[in-house]
């Protein structure tokens, strides 16, 4: 049955194409697109509630599932950050919190935000939803594996959450999980807590690998006719490259995690040297704690870009659509993404300048780290040059993009401090680092996520989000987050170390009490503002303005499905054919200020399209 079904589709597709081209006269040569090389995919259509919404194989539903579960963990991470800020700003109100609690909260907050929230959201959420739609595929290439991927993530999250309830509580080893401390008494959750954390990470990596294979192969193999690599929207480029990074980086975390589990359970000594505790020599010996740090950061640094690259890609598309202008220097943008991705594997030890590794490494890693600043800066220039002489809609989506540029540039510049070995020495392990990475990989990507939510909500739901609520949400979040993290750098200059439950009355930091209170107030406000979004979503789902097709007048394929929201299989019975890149905005001579990717050249023959 399936083969016939596929054959039919191809024939249908070809014939309808000739018909439509024939309508406007003879088939123009300029509209020629190479025929498809592979048969169309045969999809499993769910029939029951369970197969349609629970164990669903439709990438769009999987994407939404990822999105919701990641958001759930993100809210937990947010609540933990509130508790920490309560302790730091108003310790007298946080009497219930012990140092153990604080360290458990720090750890779970950090790990949740980086891995279970941002990574899952960008790759699992946006990756699943956008890749097939933007490349003109019917679905991911391995829908079943894709479904399993989400459920592995689900189990990983459950295991992680379970660690809150085991004896000893979750691990308080810091999100970096450095041994020996992570598995020794003296660190909260050094028994069950750390084991569950590692098991959960292993499950996450396995699940993620299943999803990742899908994203990669779908981009490489399932693009529709005419969708060359250099016609892919930058969102896809960002997610694609980030996935490659993840596939190469997560194995380092996996082996590091497994070896650490063995050190915990079996008493091996991969990372454990001879250790004296409470007057007794433990039965470990010969291992290297620094080895773990190398493994961790070989994963950990690319991880930063696993979060950043999709954000880079998505924000490029959002800026271009809402500035009604092609993204400036598309090829440069693609190469910058690829170059940043490649270089990101050669900079990991900039997190280890004061770790006790051979200090001569500093020369190498400082150089590579500052080199990576060049392609990154190019991307920033190209975003603002895209605004130049654009026709900028100052809507909520654009506000998030502008907020992103400002916070990202700010965080990128503090990265120049920390990357440049010498400058890192005084600042490393202080609040300067906390401020830097929250700005650059916490707040900046978050701004993009928010922009993306406002941008694609009409596609996912068929309705618009309220602009008015959106503006409140943006301004409170942006101004609030900036007032949390901008002053925080200066705490780092004073010398306040990170991961400090309490400062006591250190002679030189007592002046920082006022600032800590202010930061905490801002943090409560920013957290609370996120509920505006949740309210907006719930309200708009019911009563939002109907979006119709392509409300933003965008060019990329996802807006050209026959139904909105798109159905399983995305394209009805005819796959789209792509004739151009997705950035033909405001082309001179064109009637409208946008030319969709599906518009053949013959339809817009009197325009001066430069790049296709």
């Amino acid at each position: 049955m399936s083969e016939n079904y596929n054959d039919n589709k191809i024939i249908q597709a070809q014939s309808s194409e000739t018909v439509s081209a024939g309508g406007s006269g003879a088939t123009p040569d300029i509209d020629y697109v190479r025929p498809a090389e592979v048969l169309e995919q045969d999809l499993y259509h769910g029939h029951s509630f369970i197969t349609k919404w629970v164990f669903c194989q439709d990438a769009k539903v999987i994407g939404i599932q990822y999105f919701l579960l990641a958001t759930f963990t993100g809210i937990i991470g947010l609540i933990l950050s509130w508790l920490m800020r309560l302790q730091l700003g108003y310790p007298e109100l946080a009497g219930f919190m012990t140092a153990e609690h604080y360290y458990q909260f720090v750890t779970m907050h950090g790990m949740i935000m980086v891995v279970y929230f941002l990574t899952a959201l960008f790759l699992g959420g946006f990756g699943n939803y956008l890749i097939p739609l933007m490349t003109g595929a019917r679905d991911m290439v391995f829908p079943y594996v894709n479904m399993v991927s989400f459920w592995m993530f689900f189990v990983a999250v459950m295991v992680l959450m379970a660690s809150f309830f085991v004896p000893g509580g979750p691990t308080g080893a810091g999100w970096t999980l450095y041994p020996p401390q992570a598995i020794l008494e003296g660190t909260p959750g050094s028994g069950m807590g750390i084991i569950l954390m590692l098991v959960s990470l292993v499950l996450f990596v396995i699940g993620f690998t299943m999803g990742g294979l899908n994203y990669l192969i779908t981009v490489l193999q399932s693009r529709t006719r005419g969708m060359t690599l250099m016609r892919l929207p930058l969102s896809v480029w960002g997610i694609f490259t980030a996935t490659i990074l993840a596939m190469l980086a997560f194995p380092a975390l996996l082996v590091g995690g497994l070896m650490l589990v063995l050190d915990t359970i079996l008493g091996t000594s991969f990372f454990m040297p001879t250790i004296l505790k409470a007057g007794e020599v433990l039965e470990y010996g010969g291992g290297s704690p620094i080895l773990f740090q190398h493994l961790f950061w070989f994963f950990g640094h690319p991880e930063v870009y696993i979060v950043a690259l999709p954000a880079f890609g998505i924000v490029s598309d959002l800026i271009s659509v809402h500035a009604r202008k092609n993204i400036f220097g598309y090829r440069m943008m693609v190469w910058a993404i690829v170059a940043i991705g490649g270089l990101s594997f050669f900079v990991w030890a900039h997190h280890m300048y004061v770790s006790g590794m051979n200090p001569w490494f500093g020369f190498f890693f400082a150089s590579t780290t500052l080199i990576i600043a060049v392609p990154t800066a190019m991307k920033v220039y190209n975003w603002i040059l895209t605004l130049w002489r654009g026709n900028i809609r100052m809507n909520v989506v654009m506000l998030w993009c502008l907020g992103f540029i400002l916070t990202f540039v700010n965080g990128g510049i503090t990265g120049l401090f920390l990357g440049n070995v010498t400058v890192d020495v005084p600042l490393s392990d202080t609040y300067f680092v906390i401020a830097h990475f929250h700005m650059v990989m916490g707040i900046a990507p978050l701004m993009v996520i928010m922009g993306a939510v406002y941008h694609w909500f009409p596609l996912v739901s068929g309705r618009m989000l309220s602009e008015k609520l959106g503006k409140w949400h943006f301004w409170v979040t942006f101004l609030g987050a900036y007032s949390i993290y901008f002053p925080m750098h200066y705490l780092g200059f004073i010398g306040v170390p990170r991961r400090y439950f309490e400062m006591y009355d250190s002679p030189y930091v007592t002046s920082a009490v006022g600032m800590n209170e202010f930061i905490s107030m801002a943090a409560f406000l920013v957290g609370a503002a996120q509920f505006i979004l949740i309210y907006n979503i719930i309200k708009s789902l019911k009563t939002g303005k109907l979006a119709g097709k392509n409300p933003w007048k965008a060019n990329s394929l996802e807006w050209f499905t026959p139904t909105v929201p798109p159905e399983h299989g995305n394209w009805g019975n005819k796959l789209p054919i792509v004739y151009r890149w997705p950035y033909d905005y405001s082309v001179p001579g064109a009637k409208e200020d946008f030319i969709p990717q599906t518009t053949p050249p013959s339809k817009v023959s009197d325009t001066e399209v430069e790049k296709t």
């Binding site: 360290y103 004296l276 220039y381 101004l479 030189y508 790049k611």
Partner: protein, 278 residues
Amino acid sequence: MHAGIIFFLVVLGSILFHIFTPWYWTDIASNWGSMDDTITLTFWVGGVVFITVCLFMIYCVFKFSYKEERRAEYKPEDNKLEKILTIATTLGVIALLAPGLIIWNQFVNVPKNAIEIDVMAWQWGWQYRLPGEDGKLGNTKVVNINDNNPFGIILDDPNGKDDVLIQSEEINLQNNRPVKILLRSVDVLHNWYVPQFRAKMDAVPGVVTFYWFEPNKVGEYEVLCAEYCGVGHYAMRGSVLVKDEQDYKNWLQEQETFSELVAKQKKIEFSETKLAKK
């Protein structure tokens, strides 16, 4: 429109905050003023970039916001502009990196006349050991550590006998004399950090790590642990007294050496390799 104004105020506010902030680095008390200088340099270069990019963005918001009848410019690429920007950025990066690396070179090369200090860390505290007359520290081993040999000195290492042991979280340093801090830990990672000296390094169990500085201001400073080491991390403090030569020598005289400790305790003897308990 309003948006542009608010973004502008954010940039302006950042600049004003930086100029008028009462929170800035603590007065330096070591030779690493050059680290502060590189920070200042990075502030200038980075600050100029931040301000320029943001102002450009804000200008665009004012100048090019949406008008129904207007069309955006259509210009996919501009090779010349992209080339200029790449080169300018590369030059800026080199300007930051070069001084950074030069100072790093000083940081990793310890001056010959530096006094070595063994800083031993554990959960959660510090103690210190100074070389005796011979100017050399004896070798140590974690398994040797016990009440009678608190530093785990190898007994048949002649260099260890005259080592000065300071079983306290407080150490004195001689003003204007470089010190090489040799860090070791008996359990987990720690980091001996005095903000006023700027420099820091992790103590890693199993290996000895080092860094150096030269204190140049008499006074008392707080030591903070700067690498997470478990629940007691935030409370793992110590203190440093920087003294002039004479005061320092007086203090040093009063400290106990390893052989004095052994003689006092009468529990172990130097002749044997392993600890022999009487």
